[in-house]
């Protein structure tokens, strides 16, 4: 295994751990457990968010288990992380837009931080990883659609 791959694998392990951990946090938040530290981490307690985080974490985790070549798992894992980062950003933006257009009576005291969630900042981490290992994960070998 090349030195480069070792970094990638470690990073994958880190992301696996983080996504799975926060997935669990969101899950217990969803069940009703109320802890100060959950709020500090911007955990929303949303069951679907928990599922998303757990699945992405699982993708990275399975990738670590692959003996042959786990790079596809890294690629997909990061892609999913980025996709959901985008989705959560759009949601945040939609809320902000709503605030902008209708003024603050429509949504009392909303700030951008209200829409922050682990999927968002972990997604940023995934994006960074995607940039660093851009070439290793070879998205350039995907072809252009013609259908």
């Amino acid at each position: 295994m090349s030195k480069d791959d070792r970094y990638l694998t470690t990073f994958g392990g880190l992301l696996a751990f983080l996504y799975l951990a926060f997935g669990v946090f969101e899950a217990i938040g969803g069940i009703g457990y109320d802890g100060e530290w959950l709020g500090a981490l911007c955990v929303q307690g949303n069951v679907m968010d928990a599922f998303v985080l757990l699945v992405i974490g699982a993708v990275f985790a399975f990738g670590l288990r692959e003996r042959r070549d786990g790079s596809a798992f890294m690629l997909i894992g990061m892609a999913l992380g980025i996709v959901f980062l985008a989705i959560y950003l759009v949601l945040m933006g939609a809320n902000a837009l709503g605030l902008l257009i209708f003024g603050s009576e429509h949504m009392e005291g909303w700030t951008a931080m209200d829409s922050m969630r682990p999927g968002l900042y972990l997604g940023i981490l995934a994006t960074v990883g995607g940039c660093i290992w851009r070439r290793r994960l070879s998205p350039s070998r995907l072809s252009r659609a013609g259908a």
Binding site: I76, I87, A147
Partner: protein, 670 residues
């Protein structure tokens, strides 16, 4: 044949565009014809006919886009379209779009097309993929062997189009190369059949007897029909039944592939199939444990985007139209005109446009998933489940889309090639609760179930799904019994969708939605406005208006369901479009200022309680989604029988279930 007269005046060149599915045929068609397209229907079948034209170097080139197919052998009318066009309308050139990265299978169709004896041109599409893989095609060798010019194209980037058009023009003016596959041992059988066919002078002068002979061996429905009431059929039929058809069919296929093997060897340098990135990605996306969860989160993400991201735009449009309505009410005289414009037209247009952000985002996401190739994986993952309920993998997508809006969902059933599967899916989709039904749920669940509202709404979705599944199962078991379908689907390599193709698709579909849904809803809203405002001077939607009278006429019908005339009227509104039910109720209860006022008015109405509210929600969930949807059902099935069945069935199911709810639930809970 296109002729060039002495004066140089040129007639139109008619081109039949064919090819396998997934080869970029639509991209090429769009690239060649641009906006000069016309969409219609092939008579007698449910297949869409696209035609367009392009002016090139003084020629007018008319292109008809034939349905994508792997083989021309037909067993049903839908599959005969390509053959019939080529035989009956006699185009000048047959242009086949070939996926150069998938040469072997694509050439199967080429072998069949060559048997028509018409001038042919091959568009070797997706050359970018081939080149990236390091393969290279010797197009001259291809041309020498097959006798047809092969032009390198990349339709999605507009590469090679001029060369292609040159080849088409050239082919139209030269006699065809007329090469056919030699069928070895079968040639004797083919001669026998030809002898018999040639006895019918009329048939053999119009059609090639060799072509008909081979088709007969393969049991093609079109040729059978052509010959079965001729006198020669007396001799042909017994001959065919004595043959070992199965063995002969395999021989035919085998011969074609033998030729293809030779072609590939001669023309493809360095064509080694490599394990591509696609297969690698499939290890994750179709993973035994990860595959379905990944699909689920992507599905959820898609819905989140469609609903939540669209909300500010929807609110914007909503308030914009409200402002417009108020302005009109204040500034336009006479009153009836103001009312027509504000309540009728603006309200109507508004109720269509308000869903536009929703629809556009949904089409965008669908386009990306489709072009990337992921949707085929979804069908692959879901097929087992779908099979259990009588459908197939490709039905999963329309059903899921139905949660957003039934209209594009029903339109999406086009991707299902099996006619029975497609029909059953179309019948089941309307029960998937679309976003237009939500306002009614929210209103009534909120008014009558307060803290349980969320659960109740969830139950509505579940009821819809259950009815859809039962419908599919029933249709498969009783109407289509004994007709198995096969699920044989290509899993194309993953591709990066181009902004261009996704954009074009999205625009096309959104435009169709606005046109189809828009026109009907607008007309409907104006009609309702008229009924609610007449006779002159009556209170809009009040007890003396015509629409109330109609409602009262229906009242006895809906009494067993626990509804009164106002609900009947609201349901009539909902017939036109679910979006206007809430607005209609506001009018009827005189609570037009806000939804809260309506909620209060509803609660205050002594005739409404939890039971019939539940019944009402169920009824509005299940009865025909909206006229626009019925219109789309007709568009996709081309059959009044099925369209009316869908409508009647929906109403019947809705009625029966609401009846049960009121008759049983009333005494129990009322």
């Amino acid at each position: 044949m296109s002729e060039v007269t002495d004066e140089g005046a040129k007639k139109a060149i008619r081109v039949a565009l064919c090819g396998n599915p997934n080869v970029g045929k639509s991209s090429l068609f769009n690239a060649l014809t641009g906006s000069r397209q016309h969409v219609g229907n092939w008579p007698g079948v449910t297949v869409e006919r696209k035609s367009g034209y392009r002016n090139y170097r003084g020629h007018r080139i008319e292109i008809v886009d034939l349905p994508g197919t792997y083989s021309l052998i037909a067993s049903a009318k839908d599959e005969e379209v390509a053959t019939r066009y080529i035989i009956e309308e006699d185009p000048d050139v047959v242009l086949q779009v070939v996926d150069s990265s998938n040469l072997e299978r694509n050439l199967y169709l080429t072998m069949q097309l060559m048997e028509f004896g018409k001038p042919m041109v091959l568009a070797m599409n997706m050359s970018d993929i081939t080149e990236e893989r390091g393969d290279s095609l010797d197009l001259d060798a291809l041309k020498r062997f097959l006798g047809t010019p092969a032009v390198r194209t990349v339709a999605s980037q507009g590469i090679g189009l001029e060369d292609l058009l040159d080849a088409v023009v050239g082919a139209a003016t030269k006699p065809p190369a007329d090469r056919r596959v030699g069928y070895g041992e079968l040639e004797a059988t083919i001669s026998d059949l030809r002898e018999m066919i040639d006895k019918d002078g009329e048939i053999s002068s119009r059609f090639s007897s060799r072509w008909m002979a081979t088709r007969l061996i393969e049991n093609d429905s079109y040729v059978r029909r052509l010959l079965s009431d001729r006198s020669i059929w007396q001799d042909i039929e017994p001959y065919l039944s004595r043959m070992d058809r199965e063995e002969s069919e395999m021989d035919l296929a085998d011969s074609r592939y033998s030729v293809i093997d030779e072609v590939v060897v001669l023309s493809c340098r360095r064509c080694k199939p490599k394990r591509s990135v696609s297969d690698n990605m499939d290890r994750v996306l179709v993973h035994k444990y990860l595959g379905i969860p990944i699909f689920l989160i992507l599905l959820w993400g898609a819905f989140e985007l469609t609903f939540s991201a669209a909300t500010p735009f929807m609110d914007l449009i909503d308030s914009g139209f409200a402002e417009l309505g108020t302005w009109v009410a204040d500034n336009v005289q006479p009153d009836w005109l103001a009312s027509l414009m504000a309540d009728g037209i603006i309200g109507g247009v508004g109720s269509v446009l308000i869903f536009l952000p929703n629809i556009i985002i949904m089409f965008l996401i669908l386009g990306i998933l489709e072009d990337s190739g992921y949707l085929a994986r979804v069908a692959f993952l879901m097929d087992r489940l779908m099979n259990r309920i009588g459908l197939q993998g490709k039905s999963a997508i329309p059903l899921l889309m139905g949660f957003g809006c039934n209209i594009p969902a029903i339109m999406a059933t086009r991707s299902i090639d099996d006619r029975k599967d497609r029909l059953i899916t179309i019948m089941a989709t309307p029960f998937m609760s679309c976003s237009a039904r939500l306002p009614v749920f929210i209103l009534f669940a909120g008014a009558f179930f307060s803290h349980m509202a969320g659960t109740i709404i969830f139950m509505m979705y579940m009821i819809g799904i259950v009815v859809a599944i039962v419908t599919a199962k029933l249709l498969r078991t009783f109407v289509f019994k004994g007709e198995p379908s096969a699920f044989i689907m290509e899993l194309p390599p993953y591709r990066l969708p181009t902004i261009r193709s996704v954009g074009v698709h999205t625009w096309d579909r959104a435009y169709m939605y606005v046109r189809k849904a828009g026109t009907i809803i607008l007309l409907g809203v104006v009609a309702i406005w008229a009924l609610a405002s007449l006779p002159f001077g009556v209170e809009y939607g009040g007890e003396d208006s015509w629409i109330a009278i109609i409602g009262k006429v229906f009242e006895p019908l809906v009494e067993p369901l626990g509804f009164d005339w106002r609900i009947a009227v609201a349901l009539l509104f909902g017939f036109i479009a679910k979006e206007i039910v809430v607005g209609g109720l506001m009018t009827l209860y005189g609570a037009g200022e806000s939804e809260d006022a309506l909620t209060d008015a509803l609660k205050a109405d002594g005739s409404l309680n939890q039971v019939n509210a539940f019944g009402l929600m169920t009824f509005s969930l299940l009865y025909m989604p909206c006229v626009a949807a019925a219109g789309v059902i007709w568009g996709e099935t081309r059959s009044w029988k099925w369209t009316l069945f869908s409508v009647a069935y929906g109403i019947a199911i809705a009625y029966v279930i609401a009846l049960l709810i009121w008759q049983i639930g009333g005494p129990l809970f009322g």
